[in-house]
């Protein structure tokens, strides 16, 4: 398609750089500097979209991110497809493929447009009133039909190949918006030498100056002033200019989220560049110079393609050199549209103005325009529009002072510019928690007192005179930067002032035409009136009932009209109606930009143990435990997990196994009061624990439930080596610090996490001592010299070692704590030494089986935050000598001492081969009717190679009194018979650890 509707010269596009895109498969030509919206218009395409509900033909309505109508699906190639892009915000790029949305089979002929014919039925909230009969039809018929009709574009079907980046920045002054006010603010703030970030959502900075052809600032043309100003800002080393960057969210404590579009405007971006970059800026001060949005006027048929905002017509002509039509009608209730009319006229477009204000209210601007040769119909209203696919005429009529509407006539046209006044963009101010107040002088909600370190300037607070915008911007920037110097700007006068019309006067004739308030969601005046009639008086209710303002444009152009209509219908002042909440984000933000690089491998860090590489090489399979990657088992060629685990478990009980326990949390507790401190934290007593000895400690939360467990070793009178569970390491350290610093600050104790400093190698099994003997220096491994639950300090393989004689398997065992860097060499040396003894590496699965065979609990598996020491049979670990420790008092609460608490027991399935599922529930009688009384559940369940049968641990109501009883556990298909038993399945007397 050719750019028939392009001026020969003018605008900020680069005619030497043609761009070829496609729209619905057809060629769409453009120039560098175009947006897709300007390109569509330059190619004579107005009808570009279908609306959400009625599938009405719609066209480009605006020149910016406030666009409600022209939403397109963009395909950038290689799977880079995304729906619902505002044509006015997509920069023209070679190779872009654009598609219109929400129609079938085509944009021009859309079956969904039948909804328009049914529109008398599809009023606000109609779905709440029907589709209830018969009930089953909702899920099968009605809802699928509603869903198929809803939605706009299609979600991409393949993963996104692009990358996204996060960056964090601090600055003294963040200026949002690079229009005249924002530029002046940045000038002032940077003149004071402050670090300034100036961000603007558009490709070019300048805001409204970009379409000011005749205005001057300080004697220069607006464009020349803009060029100078940007050059000056760029030359200051403390200024960061961020075009294509939208400040979308204003969070607590001046934390502002911005998203920068880095590559979407490039035809062939460097592969290292991210597509978008999320900036998280912490600004000492913020200046909001976010401008304002023009309001459309509401009348029947105000939605046809070719009808857009008046200022947008001006932008397309002045900035993009586009001729949006040959005969334009400007429908206005304010002065600014006369400037648009004049600019259109200046390039040869036939222009007429319909002004809803009476003659006296627009005499000055009307006279000026008439002098330029344009017709101005003051005191007129618009009663409807004509046209198929594109507007071809408006039905206008005079309105007299009494409001009486006179005779209709049709004004032919091929484009229409609407101007119902201006609305400050107060979104970010509102997000900053500042309170908005209704200002009748500007008929808008304007920023009130700031809550955070923030200032609004220019049109964002309803100041529309260019000179005043510049001055306010400067003052805001200066105040934010602490600059005392003022500055006067001299700029040409702007035409300002408007009279708000919630809808244009009608002649009362019932027509078929619908007057749209929210274009994208097809909300009409009647919908809003209906909502109010039905008692939805709060503006939030009206919004939710009618969906006005809830579309992708979030009602940027429509909300004030909706508010005004509600106020009028209720007969209440605007201030009393208030405004709806301005929710984040200002414009939609890509999920991936928010997620940033935290995906895939970087979704969460992976923690690996010192022997990780060895385990990988050995073919281990891994499991995720918190952030850790732990070797689950070490299958040999051809082995499945069950076979590997069985082999590993047998090896530990008959010969020796080696296990990486480095993930256990380790905390060094040091100081003269260390023992007293542990005494207060653990259920056990530590004061009399001798140096060189270990104790299995149980730690409760203050509510009496088990928090963590682990071995506590006394290295010296004032020094303990505490171990925690893998998952509990950070939690326990924080718990300790909490009590130490806040409850017992008088205790002299110092806590250090040493989890990462030590590799822990567990060597377990009857051959453990023999294997270790030749590797150890300075430690007597003799049975009496180094008994179970003690520790010695010496060296292993020449490496300093804290050697624990402890066991989580029930076998003779040691845990070698060696500096992490030596973890793998020592591991390999022990394995080499152990070869002759049949040493076998085992993983977490075997560890679980072996401890379950011994009835040892795993915190988080046997316990779940509701389990007391007595519940798991560990009441014996509560020191009787102590009157208090953390959690002690809670253990005496009525429910914690009540009979019938669930207690840890063993279970043996009647079918020795049948392994129960962990999480299976236990009942007394499988024939009981539902709901059945559940006695408890299976916490751990394994095939025990050493018992030659299935074993399980379970928490069962009064379980210890049920030993020997027959119960039933759920299985995927029914129930399995089980017998309650002692939870220790191997070596009940516990002799093997003392070998």
């Amino acid at each position: 398609m050719v750019q028939t509707y392009r001026l020969v010269r003018g605008g900020r596009i680069d005619r030497s750089k043609p761009i070829a895109m496609r729209f619905n498969g057809k060629e769409l030509d453009a120039f560098a500097g175009d947006t897709v919206a300007s390109a569509l218009l330059a190619n004579g395409i107005h009808f570009a979209a279908r609306s959400f509900k009625f599938h009405r033909p719609r066209g480009v309505f605006s020149h910016g991110s406030e666009e409600p109508n022209a939403l397109l699906s963009v395909d950038r190639g290689g799977g880079r497809i995304d729906p619902n892009n505002s044509a006015s915000a997509i920069e023209a790029v070679d190779g872009l493929s654009l598609r219109s949305q929400n129609h079938w089979p085509s944009l021009q002929f859309d079956v969904g447009a039948v909804n328009g014919a049914l529109s008398p039925l599809f009023v606000a909230g109609f779905y709440y009133k029907t589709f209830m009969w018969p009930r089953s039809f909702w899920d099968r018929i009605y809802e699928p039909a509603i869903r198929a009709a809803a939605g706009l574009g299609r979600a991409p079907a393949t993963p996104d190949p692009d990358r996204y980046q996060h960056t964090h920045a601090h600055c003294d002054v963040l200026v949002v918006g690079a229009g005249p006010a924002g530029l002046a603010a940045a000038l002032a703030a940077s003149e004071a030498g402050k670090r300034v970030i100036l961000a603007d959502e558009q490709a070019e900075m300048g805001g409204a100056l970009l379409h000011e052809l005749t205005s001057t600032i300080d004697g220069k043309s607006a464009w020349a002033w803009l060029e100078d100003t940007l050059a000056r800002l760029a030359s200051r080393g403390t200024v960061t200019l961020l075009p294509r960057t939208t400040a979308f969210g204003y969070y607590n404590h001046n934390h502002v989220g911005l998203v920068q579009r880095v590559t979407d405007h490039l035809a062939d971006p460097h592969p290292d560049l991210p597509r978008e970059r999320l900036w998280q800026v912490r600004a000492r001060e913020v200046v909001l110079a976010t401008g304002s949005h023009e309001r459309p006027l509401v009348f029947a048929g105000n939605d046809r393609p070719g009808i857009m905002l008046a200022e947008s017509l001006r932008v397309f002509v002045n900035r993009y050199g586009v001729v949006p039509g040959q005969r334009a009608l400007i429908v206005t209730s304010g002065a600014s549209a006369y400037t648009a009319a004049a600019d259109l006229k200046a390039v040869g477009i036939d222009v007429a103005v319909v002004d809803a204000r009476p003659h006296n209210d627009c005499a000055v601007e009307a006279a000026a325009l008439r002098a330029a040769g344009c017709e101005v119909l003051a005191g007129h209203t618009v009663l409807g529009s004509r046209g198929r696919g594109r507007v071809s005429g408006l039905i206008v009529a005079p309105v007299d002072d009494s409001g009486k509407v006179g005779a209709r006539r049709i004004l032919p046209c091929d484009c229409v510019g609407l101007s119902g006044g201006w609305t400050p963009a107060v979104h970010l101010f509102s997000q900053s928690r500042g309170k908005l107040g209704y200002d009748a002088a500007i008929d808008a909600f304007a920023p009130g007192t700031s809550v955070q370190a923030e200032r609004s300037a220019g049109a964002a607070r309803g100041t529309y005179q260019l000179t005043a915008c510049l001055g306010e911007g400067w003052n805001a920037g200066a105040a934010a930067a602490g600059l005392a110097r003022g500055r006067r700007f001299t700029a040409s006068a702007s035409r300002t002032g408007f009279r708000p019309f919630r809808q244009l006067p009608t002649d009362g004739a019932k027509g078929r035409g619908r007057a749209f308030v929210d274009l994208q969601n097809d909300v009409t005046v009647k919908d809003i009136e209906l909502a109010v009639r039905e008692g939805f008086e709060s503006i939030e209710h009206v919004k939710r009932y009618t969906t006005t303002g809830m579309a992708t444009d979030q009602g940027k152009t429509s909300n004030m009209n909706a508010l005004g209509l509600v106020a009028e219908t209720l007969g209440k002042p605007m201030a009393e109606i208030g405004t709806t909440t301005f929710r984040l984000p200002y414009t939609p933000v890509t999920f991936a930009a928010l997620a940033g690089p935290n995906r895939g491998r970087l979704f969460d860090p992976s923690r690996t143990t010192p022997t990780h590489d060895w385990a990988v090489a050995a073919g281990a399979s891994f499991e995720d435990v918190g952030l850790w990657k732990r070797a689950r088992c070490f299958p040999l060629q051809g082995e499945d997990m069950d076979a590997a685990v069985a082999r590993e478990c047998r090896a530990v009980r008959t010969r020796a196994g080696i296990f990486d326990a480095s993930t256990l949390g380790k905390i060094e507790v040091v100081g003269p009061d260390a023992a007293e401190f542990l005494n207060r934290l653990y259920t056990n007593a530590f004061t009399r624990l001798e140096p060189g000895r270990c104790r299995y400690g149980l730690m409760l939360k203050e509510d009496g439930y088990i928090l963590d467990d682990g071995v506590v070793a006394r290295l010296a009178r004032d020094r303990f080596h505490v171990t925690t569970t893998t998952g509990g390491a950070a939690r326990v350290l924080q718990h300790m610090e909490d009590y130490l610093q806040t409850e017992w600050p008088n205790l002299q104790v110092y806590l250090t996490s040493i989890t990462e400093q030590y590799a822990v190698i567990a060597l377990q099994g009857p051959k453990a001592r023999e294997i270790l003997t030749l590797l150890v220096d300075g430690i007597d491994l003799g049975r009496e010299a180094f008994p179970h639950m003690s520790l010695r300090i010496g060296s292993v393989c020449g490496v300093p070692c804290r050697l624990f004689r402890v066991s989580f398997t029930g076998e003779l065992g040691y845990e070698l704590n060696v500096p992490s860097d030596y973890g793998q060499p020592v591991w390999e040396a022990v394995i080499e030494r152990g070869q002759a003894f049949g040493i076998t590496p085992y993983g977490t699965e075997s560890m679980h089986v072996l401890r379950a065979e011994k009835g040892f609990i795993v915190v988080g598996q046997e316990t779940d935050g509701t389990v007391t020491p007595d519940d798991v049979g560990l009441a014996g670990l509560i020191a009787g000598s102590k009157t208090d420790f953390v959690g002690c008092r809670s253990l005496a609460r009525p429910d914690l001492v009540s009979p019938g608490r669930r207690q840890l027991v063993g279970l043996m399935t009647e079918d020795a081969q049948g392994v129960l599922e962990e999480g299976a529930q236990i009942v007394a009688d499988p024939a009981e009717p539902i709901p059945m009384r559940m006695l408890g559940h299976v916490t751990s369940s394994y095939w025990s190679p050493n018992c030659g049968r299935s074993i399980a641990l379970a928490l069962i109501a009064a379980g210890r009194s049920l030993i020997g009883r027959r119960l039933y556990a759920t299985t995927p298909t029914g129930f399995a018979e089980v017998r309650v038993c002692n939870p220790i399945f191997v070596d009940r007397k516990g002799e093997r650890v003392h070998a």
């Binding site: 969070y251 607590n252 404590h253 001046n254 934390h255 998280q280 912490r282 928690r433 809550v451 203050e702 509510d703 924080q734 610090e737 909490d738 610093q741 806040t742 409850e743 600050p745 009157t883 208090d884 002690c888 008092r889 809670s890 609460r893 009525p894």
Partner: protein, 94 residues
């Protein structure tokens, strides 16, 4: 994300900190002498005000020190910061 001024390290983003809930809830010195109701009050009952809230914070990814903070829970503005063990300031500086 809040900006919190650790009294030992200076201003840092909230992500370095852990909130420890309401401050000045003293553990009864002799829990054994406290009845179930009073113990439940200590464990679970909180003021939860809409307004100025005294709360405990830990600079978890920093100096590991606990401190107290006064914050307005309606606006999230920080009103004051003071050391553990100090009593709540009467007239917080704003």
């Amino acid at each position: 994300m809040l900006l919190i001024t650790c009294p030992y390290c200076g201003a840092r983003p909230e992500s370095e900190f852990r909130c420890g809930g309401e401050a000045h809830i003293a553990r009864p010195p002799q829990p054994g002498n406290v009845d179930d109701t009073a113990w439940a009050d200590y464990l679970f009952y909180r003021t939860n005000p809409k307004g100025v809230h005294a709360e405990r914070w830990l600079h978890a990814h920093g100096c590991q020190r606990w401190f107290n903070m006064l914050r307005d829970t309606a606006s999230d503005q920080v009103i004051g910061i003071y050391a553990m063990g100090k009593s709540r300031p009467d007239r917080p500086k704003t």
